[in-house]
Amino acid sequence: MTELPRIPTGGGCREEPILKQRGQREVFCGLTGIIWLHRKMQDAFFLVIGSRTCAHLLQSAAGVMIFAEPRFGTAILEETDLAGLADAQTELDKVVDQLLARRTDIKQLFLVGSCPSEVIKLDLSRAAERMTEKYAPSVRVLNFSGSGIETTFTQGEDACLAAMVPVLPKTDEKQLLLVGALPDVVEEQAVSLLQQMGIGPIKVLPAPRADSDLGIGENTVFALTQPFLGDTHAALERRGAHHIAAPFPFGEEGTTAWLRAVADQFDVTDETFARVTDAPRARARKAISQASESLRGKSVFFFPDSQLEIPLARFLTRECGMDAIEVGAPFIHKGIVGPDLDMLAKGPVLSEGQDVDLQLDRCRAARPDLTVCGLGLANPLEADGLATKWAIELVFTPVHFYEQAGDLAGLFSRPMRRAGLLKLEAAE
């Protein structure tokens, strides 16, 4: 049996009390996910039905001002649309006609709900059905909500993937489905490791193109690669697929545990598992130990952002020698992050939701060596002398699985190394 991560002797955090506060939340809305989803699904267009604020968010949030004609856009609601709803549906038809006439490369169109479209109860599922009929078979039209009143940051991806599950064709084939949008390089590494163990066929959601042969059924087992996919998890189970619960594949330990959980479903022997993983495990350990030198014994404080917080706290405390002071997450889904909570030693405050002012008070009082937070808070905290890591980079950068484990540690150590490098005072 491969050596597997041990549960901390004092017990994990799964049953620890969770601090829940209600106040201002400093988080993105789910629309932000479009920034990476539209890169991942190469024949998809994301049409937000919203306000100028939505369009402004998409262009500012990630700082990804690509300024080409991207595969996302906003149908901005105007005064006239707000007057009567029948009108808004016709208007939407017009916008979509225009769009699809110009972009014949589009095979999947996502109508994305926003705060204003939900408040006026604009029925996008009806619109999507109507349009699917109209444009079949060349374009499939789906809808999901990325609104701030429904979703937080990475939940936008969850909502998008969950919307795709019901329309997947049925298959009885025994297969493995990897769920979550990963950078291509990471996805290929994961698939290759699993294939070397003799596991297959392997499918991924989201597929890069609409015409992939992805199906789903009772013989499908699935593993999540991202911890924010709660609705997708539920949608897949409704289709009869079986979830493989596992810690998330961050760091050497997380990756090994995740791979082992998948391998067990496919009766992979210990010898095979070791043959495939021994070399990359050793590389990952080495890379982490180098990259984490400046992290050992240092404290870390997580503001809620991407929902990666719990698995990352597990990685930083167990593999990089850090002490977690507070681990905040927008919300905690124990069915999904349970295995990570089991491995996270008791000690840190676990918090769910946010009152940002109170949380900032706690953070400033604790003076952590590193604070993981959103872009709105990073510079103000730096100005207070606290080193920060922007959380959004963790979503955009390849950080999963063995070969990126060192890079992941490096993302956290860089701000601290930098603080040590800068000499901005007189030499004396």
Binding site: R52, M65, G73, D81, C115, I149, E150, G376, L377
Partner: protein, 523 residues
Amino acid sequence: MKLTVWTYEGPPHVGAMRVATGMKGLHYVLHAPQGDTYADLLFTMIERRDHRPPVTYTTFQARDLGADTANLFKQSLQEAYDRFQPEALIVGASCTAELIQDDPGGMSETMGIPVPVIPLELPSYQRKENFGADETFFQIVRALAKPMEKTKRITCNLIGPTALGFRHRDDITELTGLLSDMGISVNAVAPMSSTPSDIARLGQAHFNVLMYPETAETAARWMERELDQPFTKTVPIGVGATRDFVAEVASIAGVAPYLDDSRLRLPWYSKSVDSTYLTGKRVFLFGDGTHVLAAARVARDEMGFEVVGLGCYNREMARSVREMARDYGVEALITDDYLEVERRIEELQPEMILGTQMERHIGKRLGIPCAVISAPVHVQDFPARYSPQMGVEGANVIFDTWVHPLVMGLEEHLLHMFRDDFEFNDAAGASHHGGHAPKPQTAEGGQPPAPAAPPPEFEGKMTAESGSSVTIVWLEDAERELKKIPFFVRGKARRNTETFASERGVEEISVDTLYEAKAHYAR
């Protein structure tokens, strides 16, 4: 419903945030869903501010909608007051909160907050960011400023600068010095750097300097009427405008005009022989109305460029931009549709663009140099060095900034002479830009906030289309000859030749056609 890809202006509450964040001692309570807090990063990341914007968002969620969002607003307002103890508050709604009609203004009146609470009505589905800033500043001034005795010395207020403004920080410094040279001191700068009590004493000044009509014209007009303060109409960007501004200030203030131009270098730099190559460079201008109007004058009268097109994205300035366009014999483009601007630039094939960060990207794609003259801003528009647009130093900065993207005088000739040299060729771009400046087929992933984005790919459709229905074919040697023309004029040469050919019904372009066209368009 209008399909929008990129936007020049944010929603009006972002304009209100620009006012609030520029000020001190003021707090903004914004009724808004979670997610709208993204706007904080505009200030903390793009402008590198070391404090959070003074904004409290109610961040309501779906479950609050069924319950009591109004109470949530009241609670947020009370807590914001208790925590931040501001001298005054502004309250309002973002686009979504506008729909649920909780009336933040009305609620706040009933709460007995012991400092002024100024309600904002910013119609999110009709207006945009500049309106939001202008209206917010106006409401604050109207609520707080009172007629008062004028100062003994001649003083003025500098009005208009906000957070996230294009070079506002340095323009303030430049104008303060310029006015001081005329014996005029600054009573207050607002909204930037003012507290609510500074706003209350705006009336002490003898007149107002309206720096940016986009953000303070309504307040300037109100103060003219109510506080008996005339305001300046000239925006001192460029040499001529700065001199006009000095004359205007002198006549308003009743002092002698004076401008210390000992450090003004633009006029001589522009006359010096190296600048000959700037002559008649065809430029296209786009941005906010104020900066475009000023830049057009500098471009034509002070740099010797030819203005081939101009426009602005803020409809509020449409009239004056149209007037100027008529004066310059070109058609004004008034639009906030980025794709329309791109189309116009493709049509006009200018040799240089003076625009915003959006036009800079258009320029990258089309291989046309671009200098940035206006908001919307980017982290690059907040340089560490002193870099105003206004006054004497502003003129110097403009000269350098506009010349920098261009291939310089003799280098232009050398590129032409040694066009097949393996290092020194047109694809290598201008030598002072290090590496390869124009790579028309790559878009860029932008600066921070977020590095390491998934690699952006270019997805536009930039196939050159000639305006006529006749298909024009380039013969092989003509195509080869065209390639010998330096890249920075090749697009224009191709377009001119095709227009020339199609006007004459010529379907095949030969080397002769190319040179006939060249002779035809020779200036």
